[in-house]
């Protein structure tokens, strides 16, 4: 323990005993120790001047932080519906069998644990898993055998074959952004030449809207931050890409990181911010070192730091913060809470982050893709940017395409592209439905495939999951409902209880106890979630159910066993223990289970 004690002291000292670094401290300690023992939490609390309860509250909030011992190898299968469609459940069962471990438990020798996690953003190359935080893609039985063997031999992760960890970009269609051949600094030079005001003018002309889903006009956000009173303005890049089915930000951070950081620097030039954070989701931890290398290179090139491009007063630098497995942190105010080292609980808005953001300072929070797009505006001007796309949705959009299609991957289209066109390009046939915008998005049925990707019609953060006619749309919706119940932050009752009730009803239908009454109850809970939740997680959680109930209702109705009401459990079986303990088997020791159906 004294070794651990020294390690903890070192890490805390490296983070300057700064309480807002709590999450980063915990992430680092866990990487070193495997888990966070009680003594370590106490020492961290002392070292950062926080209460023990606060530290434990934070450690307990994030899925990837463990306050209990875990296996030396922690295997987490991505549980998005696309992984499931590619056979993830059978592969997980096979791995559990080979390692003699029960799902969700640590093996008796403490060697390994196997469980599921929310979408890891590898939908175009699934089924995928994380082993000690590192992604493995394209799982099949051969790979599962290989992984089981490596774990049994206790091979350190560093010695595992590198090809296991290979992640592809799968860029299938390039347009303005992915086809851009700009050099690092080129966009920044152009913007600095225009001056801060001139640069904002171009942004205004471009009418760029946020690519994270909400579609707020970026120039308006930047101007509001610039004009907000208060020093120490901040630019945050939201790379907490947690929406199931979305992986475009992963590709941008892998192969276009310069564009992302340059976009952040452009935002700093416009707003006068001096500090930047990239909030990187825990699932993309493997990108941390490459991203840090890009930052170092940009510092050396004078593109970050003091007096950027020789411009006096243009000081800006970027830190990378790691998330630890919490979808809700993609919500900008929850992300700010997390950046400040707390539980990722969304704040009440207003005030908005542009006036009261990181540590109460004026803060711009933009999506990865949004920031990368600003480099195009800097180089070619706002008018050129606004020339593509539609009237209210200028420029291009990256789509993360997965599911039942021949060529899953990243496609860049000008806004206004029809669903039909996209399906044709990605080699999808016999399509029953498309889930646009991820679990919180919209389910489109065949009769809607003429609709267009644009804020005016079908808005999206980029996920595009394809389901052919062999898929059960009830199972798809149920997978998303489980996702929301797992990811609800627990802060507000409508969402915490509502998502879990909804999950209960979907499971009731799935287990063959469905009754007509359940559909009415589901619709009632949907309304409650939509209207009473504290943030967008709860209000969008019923979306997949609302849409599939409207467009694929028979998928629900065929599961109904009763036309009125049925319990979710077998009443007679619920007496089995008592029968066994009393040795009774008389008629009074049984319950007629057909009776509930009679009105």
């Amino acid at each position: 323990m004294s070794d651990d004690g020294k390690l903890v002291a070192d890490v805390i000292a490296r983070h300057g005993h700064e309480p807002s670094r709590l999450l980063q401290v915990l992430v680092e300690l866990q990487e070193a120790l495997g888990w966070l023992p009680p003594g370590v939490l106490t020492q961290v609390a002392g070292g950062l001047g926080l209460s023990r309860a606060h530290v434990e509250g934070v450690a307990g909030f994030y899925s990837f932080l463990h306050a209990r011992p875990v296996g030396r190898y922690r295997v987490l299968f991505s549980d998005n519906v696309t992984d499931r469609m590619l056979g993830a459940p059978a592969l997980m069962e096979a791995l559990c069998g080979k390692l003699w471990v029960e799902r969700g438990k640590v093996s008796e020798d403490g060697l390994v644990s196997v469980d599921t996690t929310s979408c890891t953003g590898m939908c175009d190359q699934g089924p995928a898993l994380l082993v000690n935080g590192r992604p493995l893609t394209r799982l099949n039985h051969a790979r599962v055998n290989q992984i089981a063997e490596l774990i049994r031999r206790q091979e350190p992760l560093a010695a595992w074959p590198a090809e296991l960890f290979h992640v592809d970009d799968n860029i299938r269609r390039r347009d303005a952004l992915l086809g851009s051949s700009q050099r690092p600094g080129e966009a920044l030079k152009a913007a600095v030449m225009r001056g801060r005001e001139g640069w904002l003018e171009e942004m205004r002309a471009a009418n760029l809207r946020g690519r994270g889903g909400a579609g707020f006009t970026t120039a308006v956000k930047w101007m509001a931050c610039r004009d907000a009173p208060g020093a120490g303005k901040v630019v945050v890049c939201n790379a907490d890409e947690g929406e199931p089915g979305t992986f475009k930000d992963r590709v941008l951070l892998t192969s276009f990181a310069d564009l992302v950081f340059e976009g952040m620097t452009l935002a700093a030039w416009a707003t006068g911010a001096q500090r930047g954070f990239l909030y990187l989701r825990g699932e993309y931890r493997y990108l941390l070192e490459p991203l840090r290398a890009v930052l170092a290179r940009r510092r050396n090139a004078g593109l970050l730091g003091r007096g950027i491009l020789g411009e006096t007063g243009f000081d800006f630098d970027i830190d990378i913060h790691l998330g630890a497995g919490a979808y809700v942190c993609g919500e900008e105010t929850a992300l700010l809470e997390s950046l400040e080292g707390r539980r990722g609980t969304p704040r009440i808005r207003p005030p908005f982050p542009v006036t009261h953001g990181y540590k109460g300072r004026p803060t711009v929070v933009n999506n990865v893709e949004t920031l990368a797009k600003t480099t195009l505006i800097a180089i070619n001007g706002g008018a050129a940017f606004a020339a593509t796309g539609t009237a209210q949705s200028t420029g291009t959009k990256l789509l993360s395409i997965s599911g039942d299609c021949a060529y899953p991957g990243i496609y860049e289209y000008p806004f206004g592209v029809t669903i039909e066109r996209v399906l044709e390009d990605c080699g999808a046939s016999d399509v029953q439905a498309v889930q646009v915008g991820g679990a919180s998005g919209v389910t489109l049925a065949g009769y809607e495939f003429h609709r267009r990707i644009a804020f005016e019609d079908v808005p999206t953060a980029g996920a595009f999951m394809v389901f052919d006619s062999s898929r059960d749309m009830f199972a798809v919706a149920r997978n998303f409902v489980h996702f929301f119940a797992h990811e609800s932050c627990g802060f507000c009752t409508p969402c915490r209880v509502g998502t879990s009730l909804l999950q209960g009803y979907m499971d009731k239908l799935a287990s063959g106890h469905g009754a007509m009454m359940d559909l009415a109850d589901i619709e009632w809970i949907d309304r409650l979630l939509k209207n009473a939740s504290h943030c967008g997680l709860g209000s969008s959680a019923p979306n997949p159910v609302l849409d599939t109930l409207l467009k694929f209702r028979p998928a629900y109705e065929r599961r109904l066993q009763h036309l009125d009401f049925a319990p979710a459990f077998d009443l007679d079986a619920a007496l089995a223990t008592a029968r066994r303990m009393t040795g009774r088997d008389d008629p009074g020791a049984h319950l007629d289970t057909t009776q509930e159906a009679t009105p």
Binding site: T577, A578, R584, E596, T598
Partner: protein, 187 residues
Amino acid sequence: MDTAASEVSRPKLRVATTSLAGCFGCHMSLLDIDEHLFELAQLVDFDRSPITDIKHCGPCDVGLIEGGVCNAENVHVLREFRRNCKILVAVGACAVNGGLPAQRNHLDLGACLQQVYQFRDGVAQPQIPNDPELPLLLDKVHPIHEVVRIDYFVPGCPPSGEALWKFLTDLIAGRTPRLSHPLLHYD
């Protein structure tokens, strides 16, 4: 009593009440409406209820259920009420959520019975009671809406007499019952 006079022409509602896995606290709360009891007697007739001692429920307008479902007998009674009552109401925390009796749900029923009837200090002839007269326990205690369809829920442990009166008068007058915030506020 001119208000009562105008009600005379209206047929009285028939109301049944029972306590399943409850403590009769909700029934006590019903008695707590004090002088409104006289008014209530003008407005409703009681069917099966501790007030009448009628043993089985006949056709009714309203059934008030206190308590959750912990054994086979509770299931039979609850089903009888559902068969006979046009409107079935979950009254109080136990009926709505399982309440205090549901605290046993994290224990294994078999172990529980053994602990009480076989392993407890001073038990002379260890034997888990098995008389067919006794209803068997369910392995878990359930809120009543998990066993039959329920139309209304009145929370509270117990709901105050005032809340029950408001609920019943709404129902009798033909308004969808609605408890305002003060009647749902417990701290």
